[in-house]
Symmetry: D2
Subunit: 146 residues, 4 copies
């Protein structure tokens, strides 16, 4: 495991910044700390449904990214992270105002063991209202760097 | 509820075809039947992770779309569908071969009541291997068409 | 809905106290407040597994009871509560020390609408360590009292 | 891992038969096969709720036992099984007829790797109606038998 805090946070930021998927979806890292990551999504028309609300599938995707980033701050480059399972409960639909919507995802690591970690996530809309909550289990697979 | 089978399937196909989110993600309807929907995703570089495997967040997003489409075949234009909750278990990572990956999602309605429905989904890769399974609860909110 | 706070708390306590299932399992109400319930379980040999740790199935059962009681404090006698779905993540096995184990379950309502509510729960062991976390969706079905 | 099929099935049956928790709850093994277990519960008054329907917490408990037993048929005595997470969707309330109710739980292993397994479960009532479906992730911890 990367030895110091700064290296791990730096690696987590680098990882997110180089993810084609983050760019494709418009996920941006807002802040990172040990075991925590806040991502922001400014969703345009592309992510809306045919009836103008954010497609239900965007939220678990953003949730997964926020949880992965939160875990990455603890793991650094020492392991590949694989999602084992995740769930999400939707509390309110996210309305697209004027063709766009903002969602903030706060991921936090609840418990990280040597091989398995549990992470949770809150999703809030542009007005700070909680729109969804969930969690996931992740597996840490040691990178072979020989 | 739309009175006949053909109208409902036609509406479900129309709905998916007009979803900006489906287009953005590359989700295409492969087949629809009553209570069932098969979507296909040809994922390019955009949906891969920094290490070349499909981003974990793509699968719950595709799963949600397949479940929503399966339910749409039963509901037609009679109700708005809201995801109440969903979960997914990941069985195998989906490797991007040569910068792309194919995933097929089979959604099927397990039980649809007047207000709430339970739907499940299987995700398989280009070689027909099961890569993830999950399900969700959806709420049907009657459209006010007055 | 029962009009005042005291009546609802009193009804929630009465409900739990009269549940044959609570008695069978040894679930006792420790405290109740609006949207919150703390249950305690003193688990004897009956609830242990063949290898001396608490059977994995006890925790979701206690979790469901704590979530139901938390919701009951808001609903009183106005509705029947039905579990729609629930999940639980296990963080640590609960070891039975000397043939018994203590588990505390804290249920809290995250959002209660007219028909559907989302509730979460923390389970801690006798030393205050978090052993599991989860949540659930519940449906409120109005009681016909005519 | 126990080398042959018969030994593993026999061990799984022995395990279930010696579980104090199975006895306490009234869970009985109906049939076992490789990767599959069917448990039956004849629930008396003890497991009912104050309003005469089966307490919601009984089902995830029975589900966990059926999934564990299904996995035990593959693992035999080679590993301790720990539930990592589980979920359940409830399709119909189980009414207690004349103060009792029957539930059958069919657990089946979807995928078993060296360290982690995914198992699913169907719960049906005495009339064969599906009342709940769910799944779980389990960890296999090698027993130290030195």
């Amino acid at each position: 495991m990367t030895s110091d805090r700064e290296s791990r946070l730096s690696y987590a930021r680098h990882w997110a910044g180089n993810s084609p998927y983050y760019r494709h979806m418009g996920f941006a890292v807002d802040s990172l700390d040990e075991g925590r990551a806040r991502l922001k999504l400014f969703a345009g028309m592309d992510l809306l449904n045919a009836d103008g609300i954010l497609h239900g599938g965007v939220l678990p995707s953003l949730a997964d990214a926020a949880m992965g980033s939160a875990l990455r701050t603890l793991v650094g480059d020492a392991a590949q992270l694989l999602t084992v399972e995740s769930n999400l409960r939707y509390l309110r639909p996210v309305a697209g105002e004027g063709g766009s919507a903002t969602v903030v995802a706060d991921g936090r690591v609840v418990r990280a063991g040597g091989h398995v970690a549990v992470v949770e996530v809150d999703l809030t809309d542009g007005e700070g209202q909680l729109v969804a909550r969930g969690g996931g289990t992740f597996m840490l697979r040691a990178e072979d760097r020989s």
